[in-house]
Every structure is written in C-alpha cells, then in structure tokens.
C-alpha cells in the first residue's frame, strides 16, 4: 500500500494553512500537510536540519511568495539548485497576480503557479484540483530513502 502523500506548505498566513488543511482533510487521499511559516524554516525542513531531523520528504511543496526572512523566490531557487531537492514539484500559491512574479517563478523552475482565490468555493476548488492533479494524476519521482 502506498504511503499517504506528504505536502510541505510554506505560508506565513495561518488562516491559509488552516483552510488548505481543512480542504485537504475533507478530500480523499489522506494528504498530510506539514506547515512552516517562513523561508528559512522551509529550507531547514527540506534539508532535515535541527528539529526537522525526522521530517518526511514531501511529495509536493506549496509555496507562498511573500514570506518573512527568506522569500518564496529564494526558497524556490534554493530547492531547484539542490540536487537532492530539485525533483520535488513546487506549486506557487500566492495572492500576487503580477505578471513579473509569475514569469520569475517559472523561470526559477516553479512547476505551477496558482493564485489564492478570494472566496471559499473557488479556494476549495483550486486546492482540491491541485491535490488531485499533483498527488493522483501526475506521476511523481520516487521518494529518496534518506
């Protein structure tokens, strides 16, 4: 039996983490959401440093752009520059609609860019389709045993 999928959500807004976790908890697939609130924490989590020594390897990173300490673009380029992390798909999930942010994210290797919708029905739809696409339909690289 397949392990339940692990998501790392990097967001400084607890309300968005709550809502995303809620939506995923209500959907099928038993997705486990790990949440961190800034870019530095995100990198520690992914590299299993300090208190994250036993952290799971995520199947998907859901990354906000506007983050304290280390912003989303920096986190993204760190991930894509690290051979052991580069294969993990990264979904940018942000309020920014600026075309400069969109272009920059894809140039840095983002696998998908989603705008956080302003109302509940759309938010639910976006999070559900994201999870369904990346964790059900898409074939992902095998998790590395570390």
């Amino acid at each position: 039996m397949k392990n339940s999928p692990e998501i790392l959500m990097v967001d400084d807004n607890p309300a968005d983490i709550d809502l995303t976790s809620e939506v995923l908890a209500q959907s099928e697939g038993h997705v486990h959401v790990n949440a961190v609130n800034d870019g530095v924490e995100a990198i520690s989590f992914l590299r299993r440093q300090g208190k994250y020594a036993k952290a799971p390897v995520p199947d998907l990173v859901v990354l906000d752009l506007n983050l304290p300490r280390k912003d989303g673009c920096e986190v993204l380029s760190n991930i894509k520059a690290d051979p052991s992390l580069a294969k993990i798909p990264v979904v940018i999930f942000t309020t920014s609609q600026a075309s400069s942010d969109i272009t920059r994210s894809y140039k840095l290797g983002a696998n998908c860019y989603l705008k956080k919708p302003g109302n509940l029905p759309e938010f639910v739809a976006v999070v559900q389709s994201m999870a369904q696409f990346w964790l059900t339909f898409a074939s992902l690289p095998q998790r590395e045993k570390r």
Partner: protein, 359 residues
C-alpha cells in the same frame, strides 16, 4: 545687462532708478560670460542689446532655454527694424525698447517681472496639482491593493462559517452570517473595481497605431455571452486607426457596449458604432436603443461609483464609465453622452488625431 557700451548701461540704470526701481546690474559682453552669470546668479530681468560684436541679443533667449531658466528678456537697441522686433517677440523676448525711448523701460521691466511671477505661480500650482493627483492615485492603488488580503480572509472565513454552521445555530445566526458574507463579497468587488480604476491612471500608456475595428471585435468577443443571452445586434461602420493604448481602447468599447446591453429596454439591444472626422479629432459613437439617461444625469454617470439604479434593478458598482472617461482623457480626448429617457443613449468620445498624453 548684455551690453558692450558702458554709457548705455548707465543710461538704462538711471532711467530705472528715476522711476523708483532699485536697479543694479551685472554686465555680460560675450555668450560665455552671459551663460556663467545666469548659472551663478538669479536675475529679475535681462536687458540685452540687439547688436553686439560677434553675436546678437537674441542668442540670450536660446541660452536661457538651454539652461532651463525663466527670466524675461527685454531687447534694448539703437535701431531695430519692425520685422526684427516682431520676430524677437515671437522667439520669446518679453519686449523691445529703442534706446532713444528709454522712458518706456521702467514700465516694461515692471510688466515683464509681473508676467514672469504670474507664469511661475501658475506653473507652481500646476506642478502642485499634478503631484497631488499622483499621490492620490498612488494612495488609491496601494489602499485597494492592500485591502484585498484582509478582505479575502473575511470573505472565505465567513463563507466557511456559513457552510459549516448553517442550520446548527438559529435562524438569526444564519441571516447574520449571510449579511456578513454578502457584505464581504460586495466589498471585494468594490475594491477590485477601485484597483482597476486606479490602474488605468498608472504610468505606462503604450501608445500605438490601433485599428478600432480590431479593438471593437476584441471587445465584442469578451461580451459574447451577454450578447447572445440578450439577443444583441451590433452594427458598425468602417472605423479609423487611432494612436492609442490598444488594450485600453478595447476596454472603452467593452464598457460602453456592455452598458448598452445591460441597460436595454424591452426590445433586444441594437447597437451602432460609428466614427466621424471632425476637425482635428475623430469622434466615435456608440448608440443604443436602451432605457436612456435623463439629461440631468448626463455628466454624473461618468463619476466613479455613481449609480442611477439599485443593485436589485441593475447590478454593478458604477465604475465602467468612470474608467472610460479616465482612459479617453489620458489620451487627450473627451467623452460625453446624448440621451433621453426611453429613447436610447449615444455615447461619444473624441480622440485627437495626434494625441497629447497626460500622465
């Protein structure tokens, strides 16, 4: 003073002092000297001889222009033909005085200083106005942008409350939550519209030769659903090329035709788009057979958030026409409406053939 004859300097100064002006003067004899002096000092007025060895007094006008200085120049000359004199005034000299009519000099100096002061005050208030408009637009932009994030929280979480606790509290609670959700969503739309409105005023107008026929087609494409649903017919004549920001021109057509569809009468909308060359501008018209607008509201409809109907009658925030107005004015044009209640409306906008953009 730009003068090569010391005696003439004395005569001019004496004429000014006799008239009660506390005059003192620096003397420049070459263009280089003149340039250095105007760079270093500030002068109320420049008296320049027309005929100088190796150059002439009118060259001072050009030097001042290059230096970006606004100091009035009065030509003082022994003999200046009428044609030359007129030409000098055309080029930007404030006045010219013949050396044997120096009695006229004090009044001429006073007038030149007065006019310069007025001009500078005027420029100052124009600059102030432009700055305050820019600040206001920046404020609207930042405010509407930053309001979106907390609003998103209110909207999604009141909706979550509604979804999860509907029927579990009591009827009052359900109704209150409904009001909260409805208010948050309406405010979201308002903020988005305000943001769209303030975006129109942001710098970066991309002027290009824009085919109005293409712009109109794009607008109709965006309105396809509303047109089909209402059975609208849009007729249009051959439209001109305009120097304009094409996406903004599409927006103008889209908002005007969208309104024609929204404010339709009992008949299916019949919308005619035409263009007419009038003097130095193209006047484009969008005419409909809708409900019309009372003449007393003909100007008010272009004011931001101004609405003539309740939300229940016609939805919308009253932003569309104000955006049209802003776009057209940004291109140096005008927009207005001719209408009567029950007899349809004709919106016209005039675009200068050569646009003067305001930023």
């Amino acid at each position: 003073m730009v003068e090569d004859e010391p005696a003439d300097v004395e005569l001019a100064l004496r004429a000014l002092r006799q008239a009660g002006l506390e005059a003192s003067a620096d003397i420049a004899q070459t263009p280089e000297e003149f340039t250095e002096m105007v760079q270093k000092n500030s002068y109320d007025v420049i008296l320049a001889d027309y005929k100088l060895p190796g150059w002439n007094g009118m060259e001072t006008v050009e030097i001042l222009r290059q230096q970006g200085l606004d100091v009035p120049i009065i030509l003082v000359s022994g003999a200046l033909g009428e044609l030359t004199a007129v030409e000098c005034i055309k080029q930007g000299a404030a006045d010219y005085i013949l050396k044997d009519h120096l009695a006229r000099l004090p009044e001429s100096v006073r007038r030149a200083m007065r006019e310069t002061k007025l001009r500078q005050d005027h420029r100052q208030s124009q600059d102030d106005l432009a700055r305050s408009n820019r600040d206001l637009e920046q404020f609207a932009y930042v405010a509407s942008h930053d309001l979106q994030e907390p609003l998103r929280m209110v909207a999604t979480y009141t909706q979550l409350l509604a979804e999860r606790y509907r029927g579990k509290l009591d009827a009052d609670a359900d109704r209150y939550i409904h009001y909260a959700v409805d208010g948050a969503l309406r405010m979201q739309k308002l903020v988005q519209d305000l943001l769209a409105f303030s975006r129109v005023g942001r710098p970066g107008l991309a002027l290009e030769n824009t085919d109005c026929n293409v712009a109109l087609q794009l607008a109709l494409e965006n309105l396809k659903a509303a047109m089909q649903e209402s059975g609208s017919i849009v007729e249009h004549a051959q439209l001109p090329l305009l120097m304009a920001d094409s996406s903004q021109l599409v927006q103008v057509f889209q908002n005007l035709i969208g309104n024609a569809i929204k404010f339709r009468g009992s008949e299916p909308p019949l919308i005619r788009v035409s263009a007419e060359l009038s003097g130095k501008e193209w006047v484009l018209s969008v005419a409909d057979n809708g409900i019309g607008i009372a003449p007393e509201h003909a100007e008010g409809v272009f004011v931001v958030f101004r609405r003539l109907h309740t939300h229940a009658e016609y939805p919308g925030n009253g932003i569309g026409l104000s955006i049209c107005k802003k776009i057209v004015e940004q291109h140096g044009g005008r927009i207005w409406v001719e209408s009567e209640i029950g007899h349809g409306s004709t919106f016209r906008f005039a675009f200068p053939i050569k646009p003067t953009t305001k930023q």
